[in-house]
């Protein structure tokens, strides 16, 4: 990796191009659309979605929002996991993308939480869940989710802020004046002597975050579904590992995409092809793991499984979107392996497309996972007597869930104007 010059890294903070203005306008316009859709939903209630009552009502109570929530939680892992790995396992190759990854984690967690809020019938009462936490923690898987996600968010934000301090202190004079109050806040009580201690704190935080990864995407999130016996598609011994692999894969794909965008937009060639090749290798093998777990799900579901499991599996295989997802993941994966084996076929734009296919495929798969389980409930005879349901997300719903992606982009764009997006060693600040 070529060392980034301080000048290069600080450029986005100092200069704003007309291109950035265009990007912001597009994002803000869509955000306006999103706000309007959300306003409609808040005003009229969830009746404006495609969701409905499970049971004789023939509807699906959870859909796009919950699927998107699960996807965002997954994305949140990649970022901080890469950054933590850089710190704990000294994977210096990824130094240049650690900060981008950290910011991605914080934003992804906020978007995950936002999708839960979109899904609530009474978002104004969100804090009831916190108020009741001391007792619901004993029995509600949703309370576990809230707890672990909050913990993860607190750790990630702390990690991000701590890792910024010495750097901001060294760079302060060269950063825009109107941001000084923000930096004063981040640097509250800063003494240069703290650097060593903060480094140790960061190391331990990294360990804690790495430990939380399997507990979140491979734990409380799949448990949210797997513990509810009424839906056969949600239960499976491999559900936790499956979801963890999907999460890590879509997260690394997202890191790849975001990093490529930064390199392209700011011409940051110091993030060299080696970094992307490294990510591509990780993503290729994670995608392979995703497909392997998919096989674990499908084959036992087809071969002499209990009737209801068979039905779910068949329904899944009959859904065209499922194949879109599976083929997307496979095409992306095959391209990445091609690039790994024959580097002359590897180029960043094509790998970005592969990443989009993979993470998009996983998003689709997650939404189908939520919906399919609900469409094919277990327990005959009762469920045989329900009308067979269907679910098509409404335009409002799509706008809101898609809005989380746009808002994430918007937050990223704003972040580039607030903090350096590449970690700079305070000792090596050059003129």
């Amino acid at each position: 990796m070529t060392e980034p010059s301080t000048e290069e890294v600080l450029a986005p903070l100092r200069n704003t191009t007309w291109k950035f203005g265009v990007l912001m306008s597009v994002l803000v316009v869509y955000t306006g659309l999103f706000l309007y859709a959300w306003y409609l939903q808040l005003q009229h209630g969830l009746v404006v979605t495609g969701l409905g009552d499970w049971g004789p009502g023939g509807g699906i109570p959870w859909g796009l929002y919950i699927g998107t929530f699960v996807w965002w939680v997954g994305i949140a892992h990649g970022g901080i996991a890469i950054s933590a790995a850089v710190r704990v396992f000294k994977v210096e190759r990824f130094d240049a993308i650690a900060r981008i990854a950290e910011v991605l984690t914080v934003i992804a967690l906020m978007m995950a939480a936002a999708n839960i809020v979109f899904d609530l019938g009474r978002p104004d009462r969100l804090f009831n869940t916190l108020e009741m936490l001391p007792s619901t923690l004993y029995h509600s898987p949703l309370a576990w989710d809230i707890t672990v996600i909050t913990l993860y968010l607190v750790l990630s934000v702390t990690y991000l802020i701590l890792s910024l301090r010495s750097e901001l202190h060294a760079l302060r004079d060269r950063l825009p004046g109107y941001l000084q109050p923000l930096y004063s806040f981040v640097l509250l009580g800063y003494r240069p002597a703290e650097d060593e201690k903060v480094d140790r704190m960061l190391w331990w935080l990294a360990i804690a975050i790495l430990g939380l990864v399997p507990l979140l995407s491979g734990g409380v999130v799949p448990w949210l579904f797997g513990l509810v016996g009424a839906q056969p598609g949600w239960f499976g011994a491999a559900a936790g590992p499956t979801m963890l692999m999907e999460s890590l894969a879509s997260a690394v794909a997202m890191v790849f995409i975001v990093t490529a965008v930064f390199r392209y937009v700011y011409d940051w060639t110091f993030i060299d092809e080696d970094v992307f090749m490294g990510l591509a290798k990780v993503l290729g093998f994670l995608s392979l793991a995703v497909m392997w777990f998919l096989l674990q799900e499908v084959l036992p579901g087809l071969y002499a499984a209990p009737t209801q499991s068979q039905e779910v599996t068949h329904a899944l295989l009959d859904a065209p979107l499922y194949w879109v997802a599976v083929i997307g993941i496979n095409v992306g994966m095959l391209y990445l392996f091609l690039g790994i084996i024959r580097p002359r076929f590897f180029n960043i734009p094509a790998a970005v497309v592969a990443s989009v296919l993979i993470t998009g495929g996983i998003w689709t798969k997650k939404v189908l996972f939520v919906v399919d389980g609900l469409l094919h409930p277990t327990f005959p005879p009762l469920t045989n007597l329900y009308p067979s349901g269907w679910y098509v997300p409404s335009l409002v719903e799509v706008t809101i869930a898609g809005g989380s992606l746009v808002i994430a982009a918007l937050l990223f764009a704003i972040a580039t104007k607030l903090i350096p997006m590449v970690e700079i060693d305070a000792q090596e600040v050059d003129e």
Binding site: W54, W62, R122, R125, H139, A143, G229, L382, N384
Partner: protein, 422 residues
């Protein structure tokens, strides 16, 4: 028990020779023969179900202590197996599980905490134990184990504080008139397409016509999955009478209860209620929680066992529900399942020879609705009723269709007003 297989090997108390035999046996002891004989007679009555164990225990507790200095009869024998609990195998539970509404908990009525306190019974292993409790991956696999006694106690003890309101629904009497559904809608002012008491109309294999009926209110389970998963404890099981309710002021509308209920009894407030003022009773129950009638927008609703009637203080309304009252065939008997004098048990007594079942027994939620008749087979198919149809009553069977209008509903007609039945 025929009395002859008594442990000491003599004739049973029903036998004419028994008195003399008993006197001879008891003469050789220093203890009161009359007490021994009286207890033996009553013990047989206990075995035959004519006498409650708790009564038996209380009746002799003092004399036994006077006579023997100690009453060794195990107090936990007071618990009798529930009518339906016996088929749970309590010996080989595959997973630890959480004792639920244990009768041992001394907590006063505390709405929000009760489920938890009872559920957890102070165990630190709660989190570890819970998966076993919520998963229902196989018939009966989840809800077997050590709390059978507690459950049984909550269901059958005659201590009046152990009330579990419930229903006996007699499928042999149901004619598919749908009067119960209509009465429920009128009483609770539920929205279009919402049927808290839903009558399944179905045909068995090859019969073609849907001439079988099964009303399905909320099962008010003793192990309600919906209360376990609720992140705010808005969904709770009331301590004093076992009604499962939703606190409309606490619910955040996440619908976790809906996806976790195997019976599909929940109906969400997708929009604002079509008729906000159509509920004629008090909304608050005796604990001061807003739980009665149709839910406001964004909040979950379901059958409340007409809690507004149970808490009304009006003896004509207490112990009744709209659906039970409306049925011309006396299909539904509502009351305290634990009281042998109350309607449900009287109904069961009357139909002693008939088959009874719990709906989806294998999921282990331990419902408080006992059906008389036969459960629909796995081949059952729903179809157009041969009795009253939904169309005749202006009911919407498939709420999805109503919601698909997507027009925010102010007043999309009131099903109870299109009544053409009475």
């Amino acid at each position: 028990m025929d009395g002859t297989d008594s442990t000491i090997g003599g004739p049973g108390p029903g036998d004419p020779d028994w008195e003399a035999w008993a006197d001879a046996v008891l003469e050789g002891t220093d203890f009161d023969p009359e007490l021994g004989k009286a207890m033996a007679r009553d013990a047989v009555r206990v075995n035959e179900g004519d006498l409650a164990r708790s009564t038996f225990y209380d009746r002799y507790h003092e004399v036994v202590q006077d006579e023997f200095g100690v009453d060794r009869r195990p107090a936990d024998d007071l618990v009798e197996p529930s009518e339906t609990g016996d088929d749970h195998d309590s010996t080989d539970a595959p997973l630890p599980h959480v004792p639920d509404t244990g009768a041992t908990d001394e907590e006063p009525e505390n709405r929000t905490r009760r489920t938890v306190l009872k559920t957890m019974a102070g165990t630190a292993a709660a989190a570890a134990a819970l998966p076993g409790c919520l998963s229902a991956d196989g018939p009966g696999s989840a809800f077997v184990g050590d709390s059978e006694d507690a459950i049984a106690a909550s269901q059958t003890s005659e201590d009046p504080s152990d009330v579990q309101l419930g229903m006996v629904i007699d499928l042999e009497r149901c004619h598919g008139a749908l009067d119960c559904m209509e009465a429920c809608k009128r009483e609770n002012n539920t929205a279009v397409g919402v049927h808290w008491n839903y009558v399944f109309r179905y045909a068995e294999d090859g019969e073609g016509k849907a001439d079988r009926y099964m009303p399905r209110p909320c099962q008010h389970c003793s192990r309600p999955t919906c209360t376990y998963v609720c992140p705010t404890e808005a969904r709770h099981k009331r301590e004093s009478d076992g009604i499962v309710l939703t606190d409309y002021d606490q619910c955040v509308g996440c619908r976790y209860c809906q996806v976790s209920c195997p019976y599909g009894v929940n109906f969400f407030g997708w929009g604002e209620p079509s008729d906000p003022d159509g509920f004629d009773y008090a909304r608050e129950d005796k604990n001061g929680d807003r739980v009665a009638g149709n839910p406001p927008g964004g909040v979950m609703g379901k059958c409340t066992f007409c809690v507004q009637r149970q808490d009304s203080g009006d003896p004509n309304l207490e112990g009744t529900t709209a659906c039970a009252e409306a049925c011309p065939w006396n299909t539904i008997s509502f009351g305290n399942l634990n009281d042998p004098e109350d309607d449900p048990q009287q109904h069961l007594k009357e139909k002693e020879g008939s088959h009874t079942f719990h709906l989806l027994e294998s999921v282990g939620n331990d419902p408080s609705i006992i059906y008389v008749g036969f459960e629909p087979s796995i081949n059952a198919e729903s179809g157009e009723s041969t009795a009253t149809t939904f169309d005749e009553l202006g009911f919407v069977d498939y709420r999805r269709e109503v919601l698909d209008d997507r027009t925010p509903k102010r007043k999309v007609g009131n099903e109870t007003e299109t009544d053409s039945h009475d």
